[in-house]
């Protein structure tokens, strides 16, 4: 399982674009990058997953450079309701049966 490093916390303001970067220097060839969002008093929610380049869905975009040693979760025009903890996970989507969640990034959106 590739080790990941992400900021412990971030603050931003409503309406801003927020980018959270995750480092994963020892990512393996078969590893995917997955991000989860966890609101207070709820279980984590899968938000996006990618292998390379760019992935976009209705919630976020995920940017992955060619060397795949980092990734950036981009949240467009955040609102107060985007205040949550965001977890970056890296591993083999076809084989890893023990998923390790780190401490994540605590994102606080200010009015």
């Amino acid at each position: 399982l590739a080790k990941t490093t992400q900021p412990i916390s971030m603050d931003s303001y409503e309406g801003q674009e927020v980018n959270i970067t995750c480092s994963h220097n020892n990512i393996a060839t078969n590893d995917y990058i997955t991000w989860y969002q966890q609101f207070p008093s709820q279980g984590p929610r899968f938000i996006i997953q990618g292998y390379k380049t760019k992935v976009t869905n209705e919630v976020a975009s995920l940017f992955i450079p060619a060397d795949r040693k980092s990734s950036t979760l981009s949240l467009p025009r955040v609102s107060l309701s985007d205040t949550a903890v965001y977890y970056c996970l890296v591993g083999d989507n076809l084989r890893d049966d023990k998923i390790i969640f780190g401490k994540g990034t605590r994102l606080h959106i200010l009015p």
């Binding site: 997955t34 709820q42 279980g43 929610r45 996970l89 084989r95 023990k98 401490k103 994540g104």
Partner: protein, 116 residues
């Protein structure tokens, strides 16, 4: 369709009592996971089921913790002789690993356990 459900949502118990927590995964999901999350902390992996078997029990904190899954569906996590340090939110997740999506897990709302 229905998501992952857990019961009870809250449980307060006295130290030394046994508790049983239940998880109903999404229908058809072959993999089921239990995690523990203490207040303000990240998720701690407890156990993983593939079908009815548990290939990885390495996260269970002690022999007071056990889990079973029947019929590739419902799972129960049992904590015997509860201790105050067992107080946490216990989260269950399921995944459709038959399609190779180990990292696409769907979580339930959790059971908040308080041991007094």
């Amino acid at each position: 369709g229905a998501g992952v459900s857990q019961s009870p949502s809250n449980k307060v118990t006295e130290k030394g009592k046994d508790v049983e927590l239940r998880c109903d995964p999404i229908s058809g999901h072959t993999a089921l996971y239990w995690y523990r999350q203490r207040l303000g902390q990240g998720l701690e992996f407890l156990i993983y089921f593939q079908g009815n078997s548990a290939p990885d029990k390495s996260g269970l904190p002690s022999d007071r913790f056990s889990a079973e899954r029947t019929g590739e569906s419902v799972s129960t996590l049992t904590i015997q002789r509860t201790q105050q340090e067992d107080s946490a939110v216990y989260l269950c997740a399921s995944a459709n690993t038959g399609r190779g999506r180990f990292y696409e897990q769907y979580f339930g709302p959790g059971t908040r356990l308080t041991v007094t």
